[in-house]
Symmetry: C2
Subunit: 250 residues, 2 copies
């Protein structure tokens, strides 16, 4: 098993924030300063083109740590944040921008580009869980997937399908729904809360509703709100925290 | 203006419960025992065939009174609860049962029967608000519509469209969506939280999604949950209370 190396530590507002590397994967772990044993662990995905320290992600991580007493971890997805990009990554970005500028459908480009990243990201998350469970403040405490719309959900769904240690999951829309994602959703039985922006600009609403429909979970809740991609209401952060508290904080 | 007559008073778990009549309409008012002035008032609709003291409604009223400090009022809809039924009401019930037994569509029967009741119920609710506002513990405090699926929503939507004193509303699915309901939803601009059971047995999911789509409200949230009519998860009562607290408790 790869071991985790902490590279820096800072503290603010009752939250300890530690950078780490695990092999070639850089990550951040936010923990309550009191560091109780076996705190629930929340895995935070980031969106496509973003990274582990995107401001909205950091704000949500602090909220979960201070309000719920959870530890929260984020890692850079392949080709994102501090991680190297290949010529193929740059080509995909160029194709994507060209399609956007030409008003062409971007779904097929995004899916084709993201699928290999997802295949790499799932075992990276599993190795991250393995390594974090060696820490006394994590141990074998409960684990939830804490969301991330777009690519965060494209990674989170196959990860949750593959990883029995995840016992509750927050997902969201904004990613192009392909058959593989529907297949993975059908294998998920843990409680799910799914966030949909009703007027999402790039993804057909019906395809996201079909994805919600596919989860095999006995408890699955859809929260839809008016507005586009960037208009998620602030109260959904609170709703996300309550969902995780209900399922992770015995 | 008709005046309200209290006919009984009881108290349990910090909640005062008073029966009243307003003309021919019987109702119940639940209030925090401390009776502060200008408490927010929540109007509770009941479902078709039910009444103002249906156990789920009473439980929710107590929750809103004890958890949020709200006053809560329910009245019997026309031809429901303690109110007289006409030969036409009995015929409608018989038609409805026959259609159910024969596996025929019940939507048209329900809509045809309910529309005249809704037309009577809206001014009855408005008279109830007028009368309650004479009480010091209500006064001109904020008012929300507190839900009720099926007929409670079929009445609540036109009531909220017609009544500017209602500044936030909880609705739910399970009622047959007709054009008049869509039209009324289009006139609503106050914050709305809408509860949908994903596997609702009698009403097409798409028609309920179209109803949610029709609200003109800037803030409108859909909460969908797995299961049929009777499977609303307990946590939605909490979510309803938080929605009302956010909008009624300044």
């Amino acid at each position: 098993m790869q071991s985790l190396h902490f590279t820096s530590e800072a503290s603010s507002n009752g939250v300890i924030e530690r950078d780490f590397t695990l092999g070639e994967v850089p990550g951040v772990l936010w923990s309550p300063a009191s560091r109780p044993a076996r705190t629930p662990l929340v895995l935070m995905g980031h969106g496509g083109g973003l990274h582990k320290r995107t401001p909205a992600l950091v704000a949500r991580a602090h909220h979960f740590a201070t309000t719920c007493g959870f530890s929260v971890v984020a890692i850079d997805a392949p080709a994102h944040g501090e991680r190297p990009r290949t010529a193929q990554d740059d080509q995909a970005t160029a194709d994507f921008r060209q399609a956007m500028a030409a008003g062409e459908p971007i779904g097929p480009i995004v899916v084709r580009y993201t699928l290999p990243l997802v295949e790499r990201a799932v075992p990276e998350w599993q190795a991250t869980i393995d390594a974090l469970q060696e820490l006394p403040e994590i141990g074998d405490g409960p684990i939830g997937y804490g969301g991330g719309v777009t690519m965060g959900t494209a990674i989170g769904i196959p990860l949750t399908a593959a990883e029995p240690r995840i016992t509750a999951a927050l997902f969201g829309g904004g990613f192009f729904v392909h058959e593989g994602l529907i297949e993975a959703a059908r294998q998920i039985t843990v409680p799910v809360q799914f966030l949909l922006q009703w007027d999402e600009e790039h993804v057909e609403r019906e395809s996201t509703l079909a994805l919600y429909d596919a989860f095999a979970s006995k408890e699955k809740t859809l929260h839809a709100n008016r507005g586009g991609h960037a208009d998620v209401p602030a109260f959904e952060t609170d709703d996300a925290a309550r969902f995780l508290l209900r399922h992770l904080a015995g």
